[in-house]
């Protein structure tokens, strides 16, 4: 009886999820087999869109950019947020205030952060570099097709570290001080303590952080709209941006739906792979 009540409690959530998520997703899959432009009439075209996606070098370069961006950003975010979290977990002054301050970037909207950094890259850094005579930095890096992605990485990492730090902090708090004391008695150094105690014990948090960060960065969109608009050329065009642009501006709704389905499968595969590999090295206390 009780379990049935609990079951019924899930209905509103399931209904909402189905109406606003699953149903549109199924619609997208349906349209990917048509030549619908987003309005008007359409015909079924079978797998034509999928074949075209696989042959489209614009899509391919978007995939390459997105993966390069996501891998570099995921690694950097995890390194920085773990470092910050360890710092904020130690016994320092103003610990609570600092925790709040380090969380601030997460509250700001990405678009606003993007516009602020846009100003920094366009005016602040070049002017500063000119005064100091550093020639390499006197031009806006967002205008350089080889470096623009670095600018996007900087902004994305700066913004994302805040959230991942909170997750790592939650993990660090679960480790009992006894373990460190025991290790100290045995003569372990800081480095040793980190690799033998801290890191293995927060492994579940490491897994979730890696998966979440990777998934978020693979779907990067706002940063790019605010910073480069996909340029210069198409050098920072991510897959989400390509789908949005082509689908809604270019009248290629069905074609980009096919692209989105392919991308969905890729993201699921990567997430499953990550969880499998990373969970293998988690330990239980």
């Amino acid at each position: 009886m009780k379990s049935r009540a609990y079951l019924l409690m899930t209905i509103p959530a399931i209904a909402l999820f189905f109406i606003f998520h699953t149903y549109p997703a199924l619609q997208g899959i349906f349209y990917s087999f048509t030549n619908w432009r987003g309005y008007g009439d359409f015909d079924y075209v079978g797998f034509k869109n999928y074949i075209n996606v696989l042959r489209d070098d614009r899509a391919l370069s978007a995939y390459l950019f997105t993966f390069k961006f996501a891998i570099v950003s995921t690694i950097l975010v995890n390194v920085f947020s773990l470092t910050v979290a360890i710092g904020l977990n130690s016994k320092i002054k103003f610990r609570k205030t600092l925790r709040a301050i380090y969380f601030l970037p997460n509250i700001l909207s990405i678009v606003i952060v993007g516009f602020i950094f846009n100003f920094i890259f366009t005016h602040f850094i070049p002017n500063f570099a000119e005064d100091l005579g550093i020639n390499a930095l006197t031009q806006n890096i967002l205008g350089n097709p080889d470096l623009a992605w670095v600018g996007v990485v900087i902004v994305a990492v700066w913004q994302a570290v805040a959230f991942n730090t909170i997750l790592y902090l939650a993990g660090l708090i679960t480790i009992s001080d006894d373990l460190y004391e025991a290790a100290s008695i045995d003569g372990a150094g800081i480095w040793h303590k980190f690799w033998r105690i801290t890191f293995p014990l927060i492994a579940p948090f490491f897994t979730i952080n890696m998966v979440l960060a990777m998934k978020n960065f693979l779907m990067v969109f706002d940063h790019i709209v605010a910073l480069t608009g996909g340029g210069p050329g198409q050098s920072t065009e991510s897959i989400s941006l390509l789908i949005y642009r082509g689908g809604f501006q270019g009248g290629e709704f069905a074609y980009q739906s096919a692209n989105a389905v392919v991308y969905f499968i890729v993201i699921v595969a990567i997430s499953v792979f990550q969880i499998r590999v990373l969970q293998r090295r988690e330990v239980e206390m």
Binding site: L8, P12, N52, T122, N140, Q234, F248, G251
Partner: protein, 417 residues
């Protein structure tokens, strides 16, 4: 226990039902009946620059027609918003949008009312009506918008700097290049490029291509009678030539910063449309500037000004017989209001007899009077190919052969989807 279950069930049902109702409201709710028996019409505009002027005109209209309320909606990325709303079958009643490929696509899809044969078109310059018809193409009969404001894709120059250097407005390409050389030799920046925003590359591109490409290029390209590789090498060369006269960070500065830089004397020439002038004057109200059509060829009589329908007025298909919607469009195109729009927006009018009198447009007035105008080439490119980013990429890599091949490929891909 049983009661509880029942309650849960009703709760769940209620929430599902209310969601259904909400969705129903969004779709079927009759928005046209506003409060107090007023008819509410939404006016969708794609120009954030014209919000103030439109608001003034709307309140004037509402005073004259107390039974109508016009709700102005001018979102950013308006074209995308419009297409997204179209997918949801939620088009606004009235639209003030640009005459470009998107308009052509939507008109072909049959979502706009047909103005053919109505009085509203009587007082409109036929050249612009013709321009709209070409965007729609021969497959759909009718006129699906009333051309309202038009623009000029031109060269803006700093009169004071020209005078100091002793150069005059060029009328041929060779003269243009020698003016640029002179400015560069004086140590000043000739052209302030703003190529961080890819679309700004389209301004010189359109000026050059419109005067160089074969007639009906887009149609021929679609019929595989010509290619970019065949028709555009001169355009590509001239683009690269112009790029030599930029500043030190051509790709690092965007449109907004460029307006300010030019306003403060950062360069003698700025390749933009008339729409940039109010923004430039905001940054420096005292700037003494002029405008001339880019002299693309060496025969002055062949150099036409690129001008397009910047704003056209149209209404949703089912508004065809709606009295109030029609009244609003008639109100907008009456001479007094069209003059107000034109002078406040520094635009040109498609309404006959309404001219832009500002002295700074002296240099292109003759083109309007004599009809030496040509339309924007890129408005006929398929929207899906993303030409602006390809051009931006070309200006960075400077490989004309590869670029023209790429343009051909992307065009073919876009029309085969």
């Amino acid at each position: 226990m049983k009661l509880k279950v029942k309650r849960f069930f009703t709760g769940a049902l209620t929430s599902i039902l209310s969601i259904g109702l909400l969705v129903g409201c969004a779709d079927g709710g009759d928005k046209n009946e506003g409060a107090g028996g007023k008819t509410e019409l939404e006016l969708f505009s794609n120009k954030s620059e014209s919000i103030d002027t439109l608001k003034k005109l709307i309140s004037k209209f509402e005073e004259q027609n107390p039974d109508v309320k016009i709700k102005l909606n001018a979102p950013p990325e308006a074209e995308t918003v419009l297409k997204t709303r179209l997918t949801k079958n939620d088009l606004p009643e009235l639209l003030a949008i640009g005459g470009n490929a998107t308009y052509g696509e939507l008109a072909r899809a049959g979502v706009f009312a047909n103005f053919e044969g109505t009085e509203m078109l009587n007082n409109i310059q036929p050249a612009y009506v013709e321009m709209l018809n070409r965007l729609v193409g021969p497959e759909k009969e009718g006129v699906f918008g009333v051309p309202y404001a038009t623009n000029a894709n031109a060269v803006i120059y700093n009169k004071d700097m020209f005078e100091e250097l002793g150069v005059t407005v060029p009328t041929t390409w060779d003269e243009f290049i020698s003016v640029l050389d002179k400015i560069q030799a004086s140590g000043q920046t000739p052209i302030y490029f703003t190529l961080k925003d890819a679309w700004t590359a389209l301004i010189p591109w359109n000026s050059v291509a419109a005067n160089v490409q074969p007639e009906n290029f887009a149609q021929k390209k679609n019929n595989a009678e010509t290619t970019f590789k065949e028709s555009y090498p001169e355009v590509a060369d001239k683009m690269l030539q112009l790029l030599n006269y930029g500043h030190k960070d051509n790709f690092g500065v965007g449109y907004g910063d460029g307006n300010t830089a030019f306003a403060k004397g950062g360069s003698a020439i700025y390749l933009q449309g008339n729409w940039a002038i109010p923004e430039i004057k905001k940054a420096n109200p005292d700037i003494n500037l002029g405008v001339f059509p880019m002299p693309v060829t060496n025969t002055p009589d062949n150099n036409n000004l690129v001008s397009g329908v910047d704003v056209l007025l149209t209404m949703r298909e089912d508004m065809q017989d709606n009295e109030q919607a029609r009244k609003f469009i008639e109100f907008m195109i009456n001479e007094e209001n069209a003059t107000q729009y034109t002078s406040e927006q520094k635009a040109f009018s498609a309404v006959q007899g309404v001219f832009q009198e500002e002295p700074e447009f002296e240099g292109i007035r003759k083109n309007f009077e004599e009809g030496r105008l040509t339309s924007f080439p890129d408005h006929y490119y398929p929207a899906g190919m993303g030409a602006e980013n390809l051009i931006q990429d070309f200006l960075l890599k400077k490989d004309a052969g590869k670029f023209l091949d790429k343009m051909d490929q992307e065009w073919n891909k876009a029309i085969n989807r």
